[in-house]
């Protein structure tokens, strides 16, 4: 796929505080890219720089190979869906969506046609005359998306657009957003702190922390092969164990050596090892790899969250099997369940 936006060494300081530490990022055509990270990680700042609402302290934003760093927002072929929608309260739904087209001085008949088409896309055909205050949160959300999309931008920026919706609506909108993106076939850059949302919708996830990119990859990559402790902790729950990389396909932790599928680290290098709770199995004593005792069981709806105390640490296990507290058990896992990562500072 063709590169559409390139961020080169993007740096941002606010009052002497560095919030972006030299970001390099390529965003492609038709890509659904998510910037994921905790609040204050710089994801929204990155988005606002792409949109033109903030100016970078250093670095370049290339759009189709041309530097647009100094271009004001109204001259960029980019539209934004704002966190709290920012719909114009003094206009009805139709006029809100038509705003951008009227600015471009399009014909009224063409505007009406386009507005109707986009309203159909977001499922609000008969809402054109409604006042903004008469819409529910979910409907306002759709109007905000329609208002941005009707301008046929090459890139749509979305700043935590589902943050204000309740869980059920949020899940429905996630699917809908993904479908809209496929239908209009443009690049979406999506900012969220919700890892599940990122995993559901994205083609590419960019995990950020502390003004720097931690990992770029597909949802599967990010989940299964986290590059460091921060990513592993942020994406889903995980048991992170300090260990030694003995040699290719062999690691040592908790006083034992285990076969794994990772290679390419230095022999004898200290590493962090991720074991996902759903990858661990609780089996009878003598049938598994690590011995332990069940110390607590929590019912989580779909699964039980079970804490297994071993001589070295406590492992979190997700399982649908019924167990009892105090039982002596073994933990078992496959070589491919062991994810070895570079050791970094502790988060």
């Amino acid at each position: 796929m063709k590169k559409l936006i390139e961020l080169e060494n993007l740096t941002k300081e606010f009052n002497g505080q560095v919030v972006l530490k030299g970001i390099h990022l390529d965003i492609h055509e038709n890509e659904f890219m998510t910037l994921l990270g905790p609040s204050g990680c710089g994801k929204t700042t990155t988005l606002r720089i792409i949109g033109g609402f903030e100016e970078a302290s250093a670095g370049e934003v290339l759009f189709d190979g041309i530097d647009i760093s100094k271009l004001p927002p109204h001259k960029r072929e980019i539209n934004t869906v704002f966190q709290k929608y920012a719909l114009f309260p003094h206009m009805n739904v139709h006029d809100n969506i038509a705003f951008g087209l009227k600015i471009k001085k399009m014909d009224k008949s063409i505007i009406d046609q386009k507005v109707l088409k986009i309203l159909t896309l977001v499922g609000l055909e008969n809402y054109g005359n409604r006042h903004i205050s008469q819409l529910s949160g979910g409907q306002q959300q759709r109007v905000a998306i329609a208002r941005a999309l009707v301008n046929e931008p090459k890139v749509l920026l979305l700043d935590e657009p589902l943050g204000a919706l309740d869980l059920k609506l949020r899940k429905a909108m996630q699917v809908e957003l993904k479908n809209i993106q496929k239908e209009v076939g443009i690049t979406f850059i999506y900012v969220t702190h919700d890892q599940e949302e990122a995993l559901t919708m994205s083609d590419t996830i960019v995990v950020m922390n502390d003004g720097a990119i931690q990992q770029i990859g597909t949802p599967t990559d990010i989940y299964n092969e986290p590059e460091n402790r921060f990513v592993a902790k942020f994406i889903g729950e995980s048991n992170i164990v300090e260990g030694l990389f003995v040699k290719d396909f062999l690691v040592e932790f908790d006083g034992q050596q285990f076969v794994c599928v990772d290679k390419g680290f230095d022999e004898g290098q200290e590493v962090d090892i991720v074991l996902r709770p759903e990858d661990l199995d609780i089996v009878e004593v003598g049938q598994g790899k690590i011995e332990g005792v069940i110390s607590s069981i929590l019912f989580k709806g779909v699964h039980y969250e079970i804490m297994v105390e071993t001589s070295e640490r406590t492992y979190t296990v997700h399982t649908t099997d019924i167990n009892e507290i105090g039982k002596k058990v073994n933990l078992d896992f496959w070589p491919e369940d062991i994810h070895v990562m570079e050791k970094m500072g502790t988060y």
């Binding site: 980019i78 934004t80 709290k84 114009f88 309260p89 600015i103 208002r147 941005a148």
Partner: protein, 269 residues
């Protein structure tokens, strides 16, 4: 028991209203008096209104008052609105210090402002007349506009301007199409304030005008020296004008909202 209390309340309100409005009513009634007397109503007549319109000095004064009020309102509304928008975006220390300075002419006794302006115009060697009066009016009206508009600007979602520019609007288009419509109630209130303040101002106008330029208040003041019921007629006209301005200011937004509300309901049904 409860009924008694209610009647006491009504009586109290009645007394208050009586003291507020009775003098005005008396004045209005005696402006239609046939004779010059202030105590005996001898017959109904438009005599004093008639004499008003023969008085060219007075007609000039009306022209001065109205034109100055209109120009001062327009200029101070624009100035005040722009200042309020800028203040909302500036640093807190700048904003609070400018607001303090802004409040000074409002809190200050008018006579102090009047003398200060008079001295300033003399010092700057500007010839006193229509222009000085207009400048003075703009100067004392603008703070009222700022205090009325600023709260509305502060309530504004800061992302609205971003959204408008994101959709291709230039900063000026954003101001006209998004910001101004949002803060319109504040601007209207400020403009109304400015108009009434300017229209009925006496002290400042008295000190800063000269060369025979007089507004209604100054003429009325000069007329009181020679007792003349034309003053009542004139004051009654002023009263009616202000009353209309107030009624418009109070009911037009209400009617607009109501009409919009009806329209909204129709759409729902």
């Amino acid at each position: 028991m409860r009924k008694e209390r209610k009647s006491v309340r009504i009586l109290w309100i009645g007394v208050c209203l009586f003291f507020l409005y009775f003098p005005l009513i008396i004045m209005a009634v005696f402006s239609f008096n046939d004779a010059k007397s202030l105590t005996h109503f001898s017959g109904f007549s438009f005599k004093w209104y008639g004499s008003l319109f023969e008085n060219t000095q007075l007609l000039d004064a009306v022209l001065v008052s109205v034109s100055i009020a209109i120009i001062a309102t327009i200029v101070s509304t624009i100035l005040g609105t722009i200042t309020a928008i800028a203040l909302s975006k500036s640093k807190k220390i700048v904003r609070t210090s400018i607001l303090q300075v802004n409040n000074l002419p409002i809190m200050n006794p008018e006579i102090v402002t009047a003398i200060a302006l008079m001295l300033f115009f003399s010092f700057a060697n500007i010839e006193k007349g229509y222009m000085t009066m207009l400048l003075a009016h703009i100067a004392f009206c603008t703070p009222y506009v700022i205090t009325n508009v600023l709260p509305k600007v502060k309530q504004l979602d800061p992302h609205l301007a971003d959204a408008a520019m994101d959709l291709g609007a230039t900063p000026f288009q954003t101001l006209m199409k998004v910001i101004i419509p949002q803060i319109k109630p504040g601007i209207l209130a400020g403009a109304l304030f400015a108009f009434t303040m300017s229209f009925d101002d006496f002290i400042i106008s008295y000190f800063v005008s000269g060369n025979g330029v007089e507004n209604i208040s100054i003429v009325v003041y000069n007329m009181t020296k020679r007792l003349n019921p034309s003053i009542y007629a004139l004051s009654t006209i002023v009263l009616v004008v202000i009353l209309f301005a107030l009624l418009i200011g109070t009911f037009v937004p209400y009617i607009l909202v109501k009409r919009k509300g009806v329209k909204m309901n129709e759409e729902v049904n």
